[in-house]
Amino acid sequence: MDGIGWAASAMVAARARLDVASENLANVSSGAFVPLRARAVLTPGGVAVFRERVGLHGALERTGRPFDLGIVGAGSFTVGAPGGSATQTRDGRFVRERDGTLRDPRGRMLLAAGGAPLRVPEDARFAEDGTVSTPQGRTVARIALPHGSSLHAGFLESGGVDAIAQMIDVLAAERGFESAQKVVTAIDGTREKSASDVARIR
């Protein structure tokens, strides 16, 4: 590959980096958002950029709402329609419906360890090990959590986006794009010279 090709692939990579930083910045207020990362790899065809999720979890924020659930450690909530496809999410902003099920903001139900929708009483207590019980201590259901993780009611996980790091990425992408463009222009300039000046007969 020639110089212009390399520089062009660097411009494409810088653009992809800006895409990722912008998406992360846009989601700076999205609860439990897991940031993306642009990973640049040098290949024989130029610079290639891969998008991947960084396993970064935000801090738990106190909200005081009884059915806001946050997880410390690994693990996630299983949400979905009963009998439908289940999804994993760390976003624990649940609201209790009339029938006792808990729904997330996208309308999906929280599923218990067995896969059935979780039904909780109005004054349910959530223990750190994921056990849901009545105030009298009768266990109603269990939210499956890996060993070592804990569940906290009244807390929410904030997004894992570090706005400062993303701003720096925006700047770096912009300048990287500019540098690559200068390289393209410089190579183009030398080619122009060789095309128009070198072979000129006086």
Partner: protein, 242 residues
């Protein structure tokens, strides 16, 4: 770059909505019984495809109890615990509120500033003063003793988070919230009425200011993203010289 532009624009729109909600909270911070709310954002992504920014998933009302404070009104009431007052307007529409600043009207009812009548209370003409007990019983004092003048009952809902806010501290029942369930206050672990007190809004001004600052900076960061994408487009357009 188009993707970066769209994502950053969605972030700016989200923070704008966020600011609107916080401004509404702040504007109502001094309204008795007002409940603050919060915008909820989520990632905008179709399954299997990379994200395209953020989207608002709606607002949520925080129903937490506000602080009770002694008030100077003639018939101020506050609820200590869950539940709502049921108020009825001239056309018979029911609304639910925790704003208990009522005043005696000429027809013997207790009415709030919006001229809605508190359900269950009728004060006989000629009553000198009035008292509401913890269990909702209204006592009217006459020159020759006291007489009962009705009872304040509270409304509770199966899913109070699904009530619809209809402005200020007023809520309406929705099919999702379920119909109002009448609750008699004063039980051992139930809500209690406090006469001569009002519930302050549960909006914390300091916290709201903090949220404004955060939203403003997030808006700026996203605006910088738009600028950067625009600058890259400009550079790309200038690749061709002459």
């Amino acid at each position: 770059m188009e993707r970066a532009l769209l994502a950053a624009a969605s972030g700016m729109a989200a923070q704008q909505q966020n600011l609107d909600t916080i401004a509404d909270d702040l504007a109502n911070a001094d309204v008795a019984g007002f409940k603050g709310s919060m915008q909820i954002f989520g990632e905008l992504a179709a399954p299997g495809s990379p994200g395209a920014g953020t989207v608002s998933l709606g607002t949520r009302v925080l129903l937490a109890q506000g602080k009770l404070e002694r008030a100077g009104g003639p018939c101020d009431l506050a609820i200590d615990g869950p539940g709502f007052f049921t108020v009825i307007d001239a056309s018979g529409r029911r609304a639910y509120t925790r704003d208990g600043s009522f005043a005696r009207a000429a027809d013997g009812s207790l009415r709030n500033a919006a001229n809605q009548r508190l359900e269950g209370v009728r004060i006989p003409a000629g009553a000198l003063s009035l008292r509401v007990l913890e269990n909702g019983v209204v006592q009217a004092a006459f020159a020759n003793g006291t007489r009962a003048a009705g009872r304040v009952r509270l409304a509770e809902f199966d899913a109070p988070d699904r009530l619809r806010n209809v402005g200020g501290a007023l809520f309406e029942a929705t099919p999702d919230s379920g119909p109002a369930r009448e609750v008699v206050p004063g039980g051992s672990d139930g809500p209690k009425l406090r006469f001569g007190m009002l519930e302050r809004s549960n909006v914390s001004i300091v916290e709201a200011m903090m949220r404004i600052l955060t939203a403003q900076r997030a808006y700026e960061a996203n605006a910088k993203g738009v600028q950067a994408a625009d600058e890259m487009l400009r550079i790309a357009n200038n690749l061709q010289r002459g």
